[in-house]
């Protein structure tokens, strides 16, 4: 609801060119600088978050309106929210925080609902290949990417602070504080946020109205960031801690009265330390070093003593990861640049689950990238290689095994940009990427299959943009093919499942977006419309029952409208999102059909010098809908936000 203003602002910004590009244009050595700063292709979506209460609280709220993106949302504040871009599957979408991938080797699902927008300055989506100087190798290796970039606080007075409280429906209270200070050449930025939500809401289940139970969450996030400059360079450091305890309300099914749907609880403790240093040694040569250490602890308990239908399961996991990246960039001639990036990462997963196979993975990614940029034409070619060594300790075999444990793949991509006219530009890309099997795919107790090969995604896409007088239209056709898809299947013995590389999905789609702004008297009006058409067809087995059917949870038609009106200190915004007919299974039969839905949100905010206040109404028409079958979404909700800053 709050992201309307942001999205609209982003559209305006993208019409007038990104701030970095503007800065570069003013510099004298424009040829060199255009290579340096301009991305070869534009982001498909780019949102600048101004910070403050009018930014959506969660990154997932920003992303759910992006064109061509399906946010899989299990409902409620604590429900899992993963993103699927252009039907490739969430495992093919890399989430990057300041260029460093947020990964999860266990199941490759990154829960975007956990990411606060606090301290995030920009959220962007790249369908093809983002190509700028000094990227990490991993930024070249994922099929599609969502980049979250930190905002660096501007401190004209040397010091700034803010206190913010959000709260409202579902028994939600979400206070946060932030304090930034300039310490000589270094800027320190700190923030902390607490969230408590009861997670209760009413929903319809056939002819009864029920209340969602066991969906409560408590979470605490605290982080500190440091930003510094060197001669010809800059560095940053981020220490992040997050703890949460939540319930999973479970799927809504027919269940005997007196028993809950679910009593599952999960506690998480996540921390990471990451940093980066970019240094320009010479106008033609620069390097970048980035690192990360992360430690994620999870305690999951089905609490079978409260839910007799549950399988008793009380298990702890600890996932650790260390990561180091080194990137070099050289400009041999004015409009050319060449990059070489190498990443090394080590992941481990430990657990006290019965018969747990302890896996470790060491992976290497290397990239050679070449870029050419002039005023009207830009081109980039990249070749990435990624290899992963796995070993796993099998309690049955009694030791470490290295069988079937080296997997590698080559990831080539090319991107082109052409701007024939002042108001018309186009870009195109082709890419082949792979996703490694996750630890769960490979080693999950008695299901995993250590002989899996990486799942591959072939992508072609184009983007045509025309702009006039503050209005822009974009049309983006694309074709993707996912093959060697990793699918869970039973073996000859029906009770033993295994993971196999068998599926093939062909995805043909079109994204369209139009928007612009208008001034009527003293009122600024902006509007954006989005539409996506997607055919994601199962082409696994020509004799199969589901051959040619639409993939689960992918609507053929989806889209949305966002409107904003600003008058003096007041801002009103409106957003409607539409998702067409979907199926919960590849068998596209009426039993598994999920009804289309349209949900509208609205907000009003007032912006004073030190005070910002907002009232946001979610699902204003109280539509009953499900994104994931069995997980009803909340009806109308109201959130109040108040921020004081100094």
């Amino acid at each position: 609801m709050q992201s309307i203003s942001i999205a609209v602002i982003s559209l305006i910004v993208s019409v007038s060119g990104s701030p970095v590009a503007q800065e570069a244009d003013t510099l004298e050595a424009s040829a060199v600088f255009s290579v340096k700063y301009r991305p070869v292709v534009r982001a498909a979506e780019e949102v600048y978050l101004g910070g403050g209460v009018t930014a959506p609280a969660r990154v997932s709220d920003v992303i759910r309106r992006f064109t061509g993106v399906q946010l899989k949302d299990y409902g409620g504040v604590g429900g899992l929210k993963t993103v699927n871009v252009r039907s490739l599957g969430s495992e093919h979408t890399g989430i990057f925080l300041d260029g460093i991938q947020v990964d999860n080797a266990q199941n490759m699902q990154v829960d975007l609902g956990r990411f606060s927008t606090d301290g995030i300055g920009r959220v962007s989506l790249f369908n093809g290949q983002k190509s700028r100087r000094l990227q990490t190798a991993k930024e070249y290796a994922s099929g599609t990417a969502i980049h979250l970039d930190s905002s660096v606080p501007e401190l004209p007075d040397g010091c700034a602070g803010r206190v913010r409280v959000r709260g409202g429906s579902f028994g939600t209270i979400n206070p946060s504080v932030g304090w930034d200070k300039r310490l000589g050449p270094v800027i320190l930025s700190t923030s902390a946020e607490f969230m408590l939500s009861g997670g209760r809401y009413r929903y319809r289940f056939f002819d009864t109205t029920l209340v969602r139970e066991n969906g409560d969450i408590r979470s605490l996030r605290a982080e500190a960031r440091l930003f510094g400059r060197t001669r010809g360079g800059d560095w940053r450091l981020r220490l992040y801690g997050y703890g949460s305890e939540r319930g999973f309300p479970g799927p809504v099914i027919r269940r005997a009265t007196g028993f809950p749907f679910s009593a599952e609880r999960q506690a998480d403790q996540d921390m990471f330390l990451q940093g980066g240093w970019n240094q320009e040694w010479h106008p033609r040569f620069a390097t970048s070093v980035k690192f990360k250490y992360s430690n994620n602890y999870t305690h999951y308990n089905t609490h079978a003593e409260k839910n007799p239908m549950a399988m008793p399961y009380d298990v702890h996991y600890r996932q650790q990861s260390g990561y180091l990246s080194l990137a070099h960039s050289y400009i041999p001639a004015g409009s050319w640049s060449v990059d070489l990036s190498c990443d090394i990462q080590h992941n481990s997963l430990a657990s006290d689950a019965g018969y747990f196979v302890t896996p470790r993975r060491t992976s290497f990614t290397g990239v050679l990238a070449a870029r050419f940029a002039c005023e009207k034409f830009r081109a980039a070619a990249h070749l990435a290689y990624t290899g992963a060594w796995d070993r796993f300790k099998n309690p049955d075999a009694g030791g470490w095994s290295r069988r079937n444990t080296y997997r590698d793949s080559w990831i080539p991509s090319v991107s082109l940009f052409y701007k024939p006219l002042e108001w018309l530009e186009a870009d195109a890309y082709a890419k082949r990427s792979y996703r490694l099997p996750s630890f769960n795919d490979l080693y999950y107790t008695r299901i995993g299959n250590s002989s899996l090969v990486p799942e591959s995604a072939l992508q072609f896409g184009a983007d045509i943009r025309a702009s006039f007088k503050g209005w822009e239209i974009r049309i983006s056709p694309y074709y993707n093919r996912v093959s060697d898809k990793i699918v869970a299947l039973p073996t000859a013995s029906q009770f033993r499942w295994t993971m196999l590389n068998i599926g093939t999905v062909d995805i043909t789609g079109l994204d369209a977006k139009a928007g612009g702004s208008l001034k009527v008297g003293s009122v600024n009006l902006t509007a954006v419309g989005r539409y996506t058409f997607q055919l994601a067809l199962d082409h696994s087995d020509p004799d199969g029952l589901t051959y040619g059917n639409q993939s689960p949870y992918i609507p053929r038609h989806s889209g949305g409208v966002e409107l904003e009106a600003r008058w003096k200190v007041l801002c009103f915004s409106w957003s409607s999102t539409f998702t067409g007919v979907r199926w919960s299974r590849t068998a596209n039969i009426p039993d598994y059909c999920i009804k289309p839905w349209t949900v509208s949100d609205a907000s009003v905010s007032i912006h004073l010098k030190h005070l910002v206040a907002e009232v946001a109404i979610g699902n204003i028409f109280n539509r009953q809908y499900q994104i994931v079958q069995g997980y009803p979404m909340p009806g109308t909700s109201v959130m109040l936000s108040l921020e004081y800053n100094w």
Binding site: F206, I253, R254, K306, L545, R585, I589
Partner: protein, 372 residues
């Protein structure tokens, strides 16, 4: 005697007073049933569905005219909005009714076998399999010591994951007590006033590593409803069949990579003497006094039988069908279901004289059959 029959039919009317809706109006797929001419009634197919998606469903094949109807429960009970429920685990026919065990819904559904109308939905926590004597239905349940029933279901905290057998009066569908058995009990059969319950210990993979599969069959005296004997067979026991002549057959899934699946015989006439019949049992069923099973030996599927402890075989060319469930109408007419990819509808296939006659699309994971 005559009076008794009259009374019974009168009671039945009281239980189900509304005019039955005929299921003859349902549409479906017509298949060739010429091989089973002369038979009337139905073959019920219970589709387990995918756990958590409320997708259990009931199909039936009408044996006289060969109409295969999918989703019959939902079609005949539009007033039960949520449908059959989540994870159909067992189906059995008693008299003119079919009892369906819906595991993750915590329900035992009783329907009319003639028109699939629901007549009762009985709460049993985490129910697995069902068997009958003349008075009671017996239902195995994973949820044992967590639960107490004193007219209401009370969830009590306990670290003991042993299961129970619940007893339901057929007459009024009331739960009449329970008895604790082994870990994660599965199949159950009734013979000679005794209940034979196979304990699997199937949660062992998720619990502590030192927790092992259960290897026992609990023998319960029906009159006192107490465990009188515990027989030791092998790991991970599953289905139990009684041939009515004193032979109890028990199957085991074994332990993946360690212990092969197998079938065992308990000779009730010889002091419950236990003996192993064979290894490699994927799907099994009983028909009359003969137990049938299909197992994979050296990568090929083979059909085997056992009658009165004497082994035999039957020929079957599965023709690409990956067996998930088995039903035997007679020695020559066999139904094998295939769960496909387990998340989309599977198939039911009829084999006559060992070769495939036809294949029809069922629901998700068609796994259990009952003949009415």
């Amino acid at each position: 005697m005559f009076f008794g029959v009259l009374c019974l039919s009168a009671c039945r009317k009281d239980v189900n007073p509304e005019t039955p809706i005929k299921d003859s109006s349902l549409t479906g797929t017509s298949v060739d049933v010429s091989a089973i001419s002369g038979k009337t009634g139905k073959l019920f197919v219970l589709n387990e569905g995918q756990m958590g998606s409320n997708s259990a469903s009931l199909d039936f094949l009408r044996l006289d005219d060969g109409l295969y109807v999918t989703g019959a429960f939902k079609k005949m009970n539009p007033d039960v909005g949520a449908g059959l429920g989540d994870v159909g685990n067992d189906i059995a026919v008693k008299g003119n009714e079919a009892w369906i065990v819906v595991n993750n819904s915590g329900l035992v559904e009783v329907i009319s076998a003639t028109n699939e109308r629901e007549s009762a939905a009985i709460t049993i926590p985490s129910p697995r399999f069902i068997a009958f004597d003349d008075t009671y239905a017996y239902v195995t349940s994973y949820a044992g010591a967590y639960i107490n029933y004193d007219g209401n279901w009370n969830v009590t905290d306990s670290s003991n994951p042993k299961g129970k057998v619940y007893r339901i009066a057929i007459q009024n569908r009331e739960v009449k007590g329970s008895v604790e058995v082994g870990y994660q009990p599965e199949g159950i059969a009734v013979y000679g006033g005794k209940l034979y319950v196979a304990n699997s210990g199937g949660f062992s993979s998720s619990l502590a590593p030192d927790y092992a599969y259960d290897k026992t069959v609990s023998v319960i005296d029906a009159a006192t409803f107490k465990v009188t004997k515990t027989l030791t067979l092998t790991d991970n026991l599953q289905r139990v069949y009684s041939d009515g002549n004193g032979n109890i057959y028990v199957t085991s899934f074994g332990i993946y990579g360690k212990v092969p699946s197998s079938i065992w015989r308990i000779n009730a006439g010889d002091g419950d003497k236990v003996s192993k019949i064979a290894d490699n049992v994927s799907v099994s069923a009983i028909s009359g006094d003969t137990v049938y099973w299909i197992g994979s030996e050296d990568g090929t599927w083979k059909g085997n039988t056992c009658r009165n402890g004497v082994k035999g075989s039957f020929s079957i060319n599965l023709d690409g069908v990956n067996p998930y469930g088995l039903a035997v109408l007679d020695k020559d007419v066999i139904f094998v279901s295939d769960a496909g990819d387990y998340v989309n509808p599977g198939t039911v296939n009829m084999f006559v004289g060992g070769s495939k006659k036809w294949s029809v699309t069922a629901g998700i994971c068609p796994g259990h059959f009952a003949i009415y």
